[in-house]
């Protein structure tokens, strides 16, 4: 099994009241993939004069795939939350991933440092028996086809103009 880190999301916010912090990224991976994962770590430390209540989330296209609420007490150790989410390959092929944190209440102080790695996993598969393949179309890319058609139309228009002008 091999893993490739496709992209990384990071957020950081010092002690503050209310609000939120986020980083969103469209993840587009076209390489080999049998499964995808998101591996992340949130670290919440207390805010010296108060505890830090922080809500932590990971979203894909605005849908929550991970959510946790933590509180780092005054004088207590930092609270670390590790998470790993298993995804389909399609979820790292043009989807928007968001690493997000917010204060539990408008009046609660919070802070956070977090990082999440988006990983493509390739598991070895038994070698398939080769099957005869049929030749594909000469022009498979629709944009190239559109450009070729536009060029033909443009050339035809120029020839028509030239013929009209010649008369």
């Amino acid at each position: 099994m091999s893993e490739t880190v496709v992209d990384r999301l990071r957020i950081s916010q010092g002690c503050t009241f209310g609000g939120n912090v986020q980083e969103s990224k469209r993840i587009y991976y076209s390489g080999p993939c049998t499964q995808a994962k998101v591996r992340g770590r949130f670290t919440v430390t207390n805010c010296v004069i108060s505890s830090a209540c922080t809500r932590l989330k990971y979203l894909i296209d605005g849908q929550e795939v991970f959510s946790r609420q933590v509180e780092a007490e005054i004088g207590g150790p930092p609270v670390t939350v590790d998470f790993e989410i298993t995804l389909k390959c399609s979820e790292i092929q043009g989807r928007t991933h968001t690493l997000y944190a917010e204060g539990c209440l408008l009046t609660s102080m919070w802070n956070v440092d977090a990082q999440a790695d988006v990983v493509a996993v390739v598991e070895p598969t038994p070698t398939p028996t080769p099957t005869p393949t049929s030749p594909g179309p000469i022009i498979s890319d629709p944009w190239v086809l559109a450009m070729a058609m536009a060029a033909v139309i443009m050339a035809a228009a120029l020839v028509a103009v030239a013929l009209i002008v010649r008369r």
Partner: protein
């Protein structure tokens, strides 16, 4: 394709938005977002959002003032590219941000065809 915004604001300032429509023979492109922020008062924090066809390609915020960064992203090539900046709630803010994408434009091709057509038309007109 290049989008650029340089703006400052206060707690009641509107977001600044730049848009560009791209039609090009490609599907996926590499885009680089470069930004720097500066202190325009206290409190200070900036939000940046880059969307293509309504889908967020990259966004972050609030970004602390007095910082800079560069992010490389993969974006759809064709469609409406939109860059927006605004401050965090109740914040004063300053930001300069640029998105540069490898999207080729159809404009040079169309302009070239237009020039060829014009030259041909003038040349034929003279010969008559």
């Amino acid at each position: 394709m290049r989008l650029y915004i340089k703006a400052e604001g206060n707690p009641i300032a509107w977001p600044e938005v730049a848009r560009q429509l791209v039609l090009a023979p490609c599907r996926e492109t590499r885009a680089v977002v470069r930004y720097r922020t500066w202190q325009n008062g206290v409190p200070c924090g900036v939000n940046i959002e880059y969307k293509v066809n309504g889908q967020v390609v990259w966004s972050a915020g609030p970004i602390p003032c007095g910082t800079s960064g560069e992010v490389e992203v993969s974006a759809p090539c064709n469609g409406l590219h939109q860059l927006a900046v605004w401050g965090c709630a109740g914040c004063f803010w300053g930001v300069e941000v640029e998105v540069a994408a490898d999207a080729p434009s159809l404009a040079p091709l169309l302009a070239g065809a237009g020039v060829v057509g014009l030259v041909l038309w003038l040349w034929r007109g003279r010969r008559r």
